[in-house]
Amino acid sequence: MEQESPIDTEEENLENSIQFLSFTLGSEEYGVAILSVQEIRSWEPVSKIPNVPSYEKGVVNLRGAIVPIIDLRERFNLEHSKYTNLTVVVVLQAELRGKNRTMGVVVDSVSDVMHVDKNNIQSAPDFGTKVSTDFINGLASVNDRMVMLLDVSKLLELEGLNDTDSNDESND
């Protein structure tokens, strides 16, 4: 019954809602826009790249494309957790300065695909999270859970992987 009503509302609110893919880091739940998600993969060993920040785990060959993998936990200065076969890598893509960037982030687990009303999205506060507010588009409350909505382009930008951008472009 409960499912029918959100579907109805979903049907009604499709125009005003945005789909997010939620994932968890520790106890926090984050969400990224589903259209920025290229693919969800399980963790696979990566090829390590020397002389990179520690949160940059390496690279993987994703159907011919070299995709850098960063550990979002470490990136968000969270505690590092061990990688298991349930560890998920979300491959994000965004268009930055005209370039299409692809990057895999290691998260604890992928939760759901959720529809968030744009009206329910609140702007990010200036403080209070460990993540720089630069990454956060806003906060959404879904089913009484607070989900931080991450701005993928800023997330990718903040990656500071300009070199890789060029590489990507060259690869393209």
Partner: protein, 785 residues
Amino acid sequence: MKINMPVTDKEVHMKDGTILVTRTNLKGVITYANDAFVEISGFSYSELVGSNHNIVRHPDMPAVAFQDLWESNQRGEPWTAPVKNRTKSGDYYWVEANVTPVYSNGVIVEYLSVRYSPSREQINSASQLYKELNDSKATTIRPVGFSKLVKQIKETSINKKALLTAALFLTPSICLIKQSYETQDMLHLGIIAFISLLAIGLGYSILSSLLNTLSDTQGIFRKLSDESFRNEIELNRNDQIGDFKRDLYSMQVKLNADLAFSNQVASESLRIKQALDNVNSCVMVSNNNLEIIYMNHTVQAMFENAEKDIQTDIPKFNSKKLLGANIDQFHKNPAYQRGLLATLNSAHNAELKLGSRTINFVANPVMNDDGDRIGIVVEWMDRTSEVRIEKEINELVTSINNGDLSNRIELADKEGFFENLSIGINELTDGIDATFSDINHSMQSLANGNLNNKITSEYKGVYNDCKENINATVDKLSEIVGQITESADFINNTSKEIASGNNNLSERVETQASSLEETASSMEELTSTVKNNAENAQQANSVSTKARELAENGGEIVTSAVNAMAEINDSSNKISAIIGVIDEIAFQTNLLALNASVEAARAGEQGRGFSVVATEVRNLAQRSAAAAQESKTLIQTSIQKVRAGTEFVNETGSALNEIVTGVKQVGDIISEIAAASLEQSQGIEQVNQAVAQMDEITQQNAALAEQASAASVSMSDQSQTMIGLLDFFDINASNNITAPVINQQAAPSPSSHSPSKVIRKKETTKPVENNRIVSSSEDDEWGEF
């Protein structure tokens, strides 16, 4: 003829050297008998004198013998022959009797018999002869017939014999003369005739001178017999006749001298007799036959004086007829006296009691020069008054000896020495009486328990010693009684304590006995319990053995269970792995569904259906993941539980192992318990024996305690009795006792305590009786026990 009977075969022998002399008058009555005759005849002098001589005749003597005797004597001839005489007792004795008439002035005045001891040959021939005479009833002992002729020839007078001899001598001469005359030998004839005549003449001359001499001598002898000693005797003849006459003369002189000597002796004896007659002592002389032959005046007077007293004992006594009587009459038992006096050789002192008279006599033998006893001299002494005093004194002494001090000697009839003696004895008795009275008084009060009465009179010497000692005895007794009283009191208390203690002991022993009884029964129960224990231990041992087997089986089962658990664990792990795979597949599916959702979202409106499918897939994937997760959780739980179960089972196994070892130990312990129970059983048996012994000993103890109790009770009684007895003594009032004694007396103070003690005694006796009753019943119970 007088026949004196009876006779015995016992012969009495005359003593050699003695002669028996009797004188008889012409009628044969004895006028005198000498001592020897009296002695051997057995008759008394008085019996003999005045009796006919035939009193001593023996029946064996033939009458003709005495007839011959008489005939001879009447002819004036002496007679001699062995004669068998009879004693008074019937015995016989042989004598050679010589009987001769005694002439006085040429007339026979009496006969004198002298008897000698005959030889055995004489006796034999005489007895033979008398036997023949008795048998032949002969009328004479003289030879008859031829014998008489021979005897007559033999006794022919000398003249006739001379004539016959001359005729006989002349016959050959005449023959020779005739022959010579025939032969005419005148010479021969003449010679022969001359010789014959000469011989006749000579013979006649000899014969006539001999006969003259005989005749003269006969005359002289007759005169000598008549005590005429002044006969003329021719002394100048030189022949044998002269010798004969000279000897005759010598004999006459000698006899005269002897007679003179005898007369002198007789006069001396007479003088002594006269002297004896007049002495104050009572003298009496008897011969060997105890016939009184002399009494002096004093003794005569004494007997006359005492006649009446003597007659009370000897009625026949006659003081006038004592002389010549036998001394036996003074004795009630003459035979004894006779035997005593017959052998009297030394002084014999005796006392006669004749009536109220006490007559003392001293008999002394009178010996002749040869040492033979010829009589007895008796001195009499009338000791009546002396004896009376003696008797009085004796009675007094006897009564004193018998403790009767009340008697005294009567002084009224005493004088002189006896009076003094009596006064002295009376004073002595008074002294003893007073002393003993005091002693008696003191001792009596002592006997009555009064220790206060002491002798206070003054005494000397031994009496004083006695007094001192008695007083000391009383003092000492007081002291001792005081001490004894104290001791008795102490003993009494102690014995009571002992008695109560013994009662307690007895009760305790009784309790002990019952306890022992209980112990014995407990031991009995214990014994059965221990036996049960042993059996139970045996059963427990078998049970534990089974338990061990079971536990071992359980161990095996546990092992298999562990294995099963391990298998379950493996299976669970496999399931877990499979679930992991499923989970991974679900994860991958979820990822795929997400990717699909992402693709659907990209597809926009076209992808909406796909998005729904992707969502459904994702839901399925999530459900399968959740199911896988649950399964995984379940499996893991199962694995954990299996693991825990394995651990439990392992623990169970080890526990079972421990149980096995434990059961084994239990079995061992139970075996030990069984052995121990056996030992216990034996030990209990010993304990039982010990208990039985203890019971026995306890019974003995009980008996001993009972005895001790009874003994202590009786000791208590005795001590009570002793105290009661001691109460008898009265020592309180004694002031003369020394100070410590008083102190010692003060403590017990028996007299003041005595009533309470008596009461106590009564009180104590009852419980004792009760105790005895109880103890006797206890004895019965123990007897049954």
